[in-house]
Symmetry: C2
């Protein structure tokens, strides 16, 4: 059979970068094809549809991001871990020039229309799934911290609160384009959750 003329993973990487920068609906398959040096039809042959391509590109991103998150959450005091968590989160939002924002949050709001087309639904689930997995990581970290006496609240509630704040940060990032503001909110959140004093 005829061999494929492009590397599958290269295309996923290029496609996700475009989705990240311009949004899913703002990125056309022609854009991706041009950038990847591939014919538009070849993308349909290889991936099936725009949503399917998005899905694969996003999984690729999510995998790497989860690894980085686990690392950030895995060392030092609970306060240090949460600080590293917010740092990574905000740094990720502010990566690129101009900053690209949070792809997960954008995808969720972009494809989470009340009356979506239907194929979008799979992508929406993938975005929601990453949020769930991050929440679980944060909750585990808080639970471990609680056992070590570094935290005495409810890990489940606190993790949900923290995740909510990170999603809010993603929105404020787009609204105000003010990185110091994001970092202040993050620090304030950590103080609220752990108690402002020492701990």
């Amino acid at each position: 059979m005829r061999p494929r003329e492009f590397d599958n993973d290269d295309v996923l990487r290029i496609a996700f970068d475009q989705f990240w920068r311009k949004g899913v609906r703002g990125t056309s398959l022609s854009d991706i094809a041009r950038d990847a040096g591939v014919q538009r039809g070849s993308l349909y042959n290889a991936f099936g549809s725009k949503e399917a391509l998005l899905l694969q590109a996003y999984e690729r991103y999510a995998g790497g991001y989860l690894v980085a998150l686990q690392e950030a959450l895995g060392a030092g005091s609970l306060r240090k871990r949460l600080t590293a968590f917010f740092d990574l989160t905000i740094t990720n939002f502010r990566s690129g020039s101009p900053p690209r924002g949070c792809p997960t949050t954008r995808g969720l709001m972009e494809l989470g229309a009340a009356e979506g087309e239907g194929l979008d639904e799979d992508a929406r689930k993938a975005f929601a799934n990453l949020v769930s997995r991050i929440t679980a990581l944060v909750e585990d970290t808080l639970s471990a911290g609680a056992e070590r006496g570094e935290f005495d609240g409810n890990p489940t509630s606190a993790a949900l609160h923290i995740i909510t704040v990170t999603r809010g940060l993603a929105v404020l990032e787009r609204a105000f384009d003010d990185e110091p503001q994001l970092r202040k909110i993050a620090a304030h959140t950590i103080d609220l959750v752990l108690g402002k004093g020492g701990r």
Copy 2:
């Protein structure tokens, strides 16, 4: 001159409902024209472009929403005010069937692409502006509460925190479609900000 055959405000109302349900990019001018019983060209004549129509439709919504917010924030103890604030926020997200989510947050993420087309920028600013105005209302409420001895933190930081949580709630609403969860997070946030005990 020839009189206009439709009511301007009717069209704005119908248009915003569609934008809210299906998202800005997911709503075509043909959809709006059909729903309003107006020819597509007439919309261009009356409003100029899709973004301009969105802008006017959104201003119309924002005005009404701000009034409702002020009412929610204007009566009772600080705790009651904040509870009413979150109630209104979540009820707004969950209005419609299926629930339509938060139009502001969706608009911000949908049009806040790093590489937007340019005309979208005005709409993005309008969304961000509502967020700013809500933040100011919350901050005023907290300041007043502080003067009455109901709150002893920094009103500015706390207001920013609360606004961040509401934006996060808008995202989680799309992600998990779980209204009780949203209300739990809201209650938890109020406890964190005001102190869990009495106050």
